[in-house]
Symmetry: C2
Subunit: 472 residues, 2 copies
């Protein structure tokens, strides 16, 4: 899988992006039929890419019959090229950006064997208790539903979380360095909106969280991939990418990584912070399953090693505390926070107060800690069951120390999209590797989540998956 | 106030925007010291503005000493120009876009006489009852906190709202044509992200909702203002702007308009939909205080007249149903909805289910209707008190038929920013017209909200405001 960095991303992926960018703009009628397109030179400058990249993009458009060449200098829009807008809409209104969320497209299919959702089975959450906390919240704050929360989030909650982090990770935060968001997804989105502009380079793991790819693509970023392995990154590759692409940020998921479950070791975390300072690259540590470990606790978040304020730490709680509340937070130093706050105020003007208060009272309860202990055991059992079913499959995976999924290399010659097609017919869902790969390859890989289906469903479902795979 | 359209916006505002755009890019080091900037011609093409606009922008940069001219053709970055980045941040990380939310900056100041928040006094909301609905929700949906809502929103809620709209406004919607958002602000933001790209033209009322200006500016849109008067728009001006600027959308607040309280009459609404179809301009009807009327009901939303799917209808409920829940919805036809759904899934993956269920049960209760009746009376009384206090001020306003604020033209020679400064010292807040004006003028105007402070506070506060105004 490991390739040379320059071979890996620069020509292939970037050139494809420029093509897509031009197709979108042509499709939106920004250039009319027979209108001259920008010169290779000027477009290379506008997009901050090499002229050869633009040249190759134009060649591709020519091959697709979207543009034609005249007096060998210029490229002109071919009649009918406009019809090739991605996702054209009816009527006059065409969206500015062609965006999609590939993962949520799979989740929209209801199935009986749910291995695609990296969510925790609602039956494993202490539903019976929640209403007590809600009742308490209404007794304590009778006007909670009549009040907006501050944009940054409820101060009582932020102070509680600061104490929590100081206690657990020994990093010191003031409430002003914490922003409450509506889930970790919103945090990624806010960061991308504030720190990225079109064609900015972004380092991203390969594979990674598919929605992050969609968010950064929507922002028009150049995605540069960094491979992640069972024992972390190839740090030479990381440094090469930082030096070569001057990325604005590195979006990472170093703890029980999604989709692989791999964890980046402490010494690499230290080194990453040094590199980030050296190359002035923002590190976005997306940490949403930190507390779901089966053996020993994972290494501390990158924020722990950050002295220069280059780390944005996203800590999600939705998955195991309460998906229905959608509470996450971002920790960063004041110069970054200032801008996140503005983005948050423009996006939704603050996360609902009720949700923050319910979360606060549940999160600080002894019950949550007991619940977490039981939850870890329950999830480990489900993981073991899934691995047991796969034992004789010949498929390969590295057993994760935490998280919600297995990242599996399927048997020789099995394409995961093809297998998914068969599985969906049999009411089984999983996530094909293609969706997790920013380069849209990794066909032979797949993510199977063991957190949502129960033991019986896992046994029956995985057996069926293996049967179906033999028929491909 | 009424000026000729071409005199009003094109040269002044657009040219200022290009300056700001270039200052930001220079500040972010996209061009180094002594590096040549794009030619007037190429930049005019890139930004889709007239060359003279770019030329004037460059002249302005020259006057500011940010660029210098060489061999009279080219403009070059002057040493030190980079230091002029708007809102520079410490360290290496500079945000891609310089954004701010001016309104929330005022709201961050705590005061005893609160006339700047167009929110409803929590004491006017039926806090006592909410907990009953919450309890009922937990009885009905024991796993509500363990479950994610669908991205589009809870189906039961969407169907209920469709019936509500069919009953009240006689327009027919299916649940698939409705998206639940976390407040109307999020709806505006999603729409701007999907339908706008940098330098797209956007029609916007003058004055308007300040956060909308901030959202569209963040998207890099060219703002083209349409004046709003006590009896609506000057339709010739609207048509001129649509023909001349080919705007992608018209963001409007035609019912108890914020900040003016004016309402656009039915015949203009019909005409607007015709114009929008003719000029292929999306109409965004932001309707958040529809139910807060003092006399007769306002005319139906623009959606009622829309046969071609050019209207996006934002209906907010936060303000009077429950600010703490943050529930609003967007109605539009499937071709537009498809893209909104993607944006919503990337932004926060769906509004929390708990909030939607609580809203649903309260919204459909008889109690809400009783509450609304009382609320209208209470707010009208507060409006009357404020108007009474202003009777002899010589200040001018047109008494609104609904909404939460008075839009007041202050006495001769009184600048609202200056008055605000004095008022904040006296613990009184209001919104100066400058903030509501996309052109950042209207110094002599101010928005005073009567919905948050009680009668006594309004009497005492407004008297103090008038005293202070006499000392300017």
């Amino acid at each position: 899988m490991q390739k040379e960095p320059n071979e890996r991303t620069q020509p292939f992926h970037l050139f494809e992006q420029v093509v897509e960018y031009l197709v979108t703009r042509i499709g939106r009628g920004e250039w009319q039929t027979h209108e001259k397109l920008p010169s290779v030179r000027s477009l290379a400058i506008e997009l901050k890419v090499h002229r050869l990249t633009v040249f190759r993009a134009y060649q591709e458009l020519k091959n697709r019959g979207l543009v034609y060449v005249r007096d060998k200098a210029g490229y002109y829009v071919h009649p009918g090229a406009g019809a090739c807008a991605p996702e054209p809409t009816a009527g006059a209104i065409v969206p500015a950006y062609s965006v999609r969320n590939r993962l949520s497209e799979i989740h929209q299919v209801p199935v009986s064997y749910q291995f695609s959702e990296a969510l925790i089975d609602p039956n494993l959450l202490p539903n019976m208790y929640f209403s007590d906390y809600v009742k308490r919240v209404f007794d304590l704050y009778p006007k909670v539903l009549a009040t907006y929360a501050p944009v940054q989030g409820d101060e009582e909650l932020r102070e509680t979380l600061c104490r929590h982090f100081a206690h657990i990770h020994r990093f010191h935060l003031s409430a002003s360095e914490l922003l409450i968001t509506s889930g970790a997804q919103q945090a990624i989105d806010l960061i991308s909106r504030i720190f990225l502009k079109p064609m900015d380079a972004v380092l991203i793991e390969r594979p990674t969280y598919s929605s992050a790819v969609d968010i950064f693509s929507q922002a028009g970023a150049k995605l540069v991939t960094v491979d992640i392995h069972p024992h972390g990154y190839n740090m030479d590759q990381v440094e090469w990418c930082m030096r070569h692409y001057k990325p604005r940020l590195f979006y990472m998921n170093p703890t029980f990584h999604n989709p692989t479950g791999y964890t980046v070791p402490a010494e690499q975390r230290k080194r990453l912070v040094e590199l980030a300072e050296q190359y002035r690259c923002l590190l976005v540590d997306d940490d949403t399953t930190h507390d779901i470990y089966f053996g020993k606790e994972p290494p501390p978040p990158l924020f722990t090693y950050d002295t220069e304020g280059v780390v944005l730490y996203i800590r999600g709680f939705s998955k195991y505390v309460s998906p229905g509340l959608r509470i996450a937070c971002v920790a960063c130093r004041p110069p970054l926070m200032k801008h996140l706050l503005t983005a948050k105020s423009l996006t939704d003007n603050g996360t609902p107060l009720l949700n923050q208060k319910i979360f606060l009272h549940y999160f600080t309860s002894a019950r949550l800690q007991q619940h977490l202990g039981k939850l870890r055991i329950a999830l480990q059992i489900r993981k073991d069951v899934m691995e047991e079913e796969l034992r004789d499959s010949g498929w390969q995976w590295s057993s994760p120390g935490g998280g919600l999924s297995l990242w599996i290399r399927l048997g020789k010659g099995i394409s995961s999209p093809a297998l998914l097609e068969r599985c969906l017919e049999a009411s089984i869902a999983f996530v094909p590797g293609v969706i997790c790969d920013p380069l849209r390859q990794m066909e032979e890989w797949a993510r199977f989540s063991f957190s949502f289906a129960n033991e019986l469903q896992i046994r029956a479902g995985m057996r069926r998956v293996l049967e179906l795979s033999r028929r491909i």
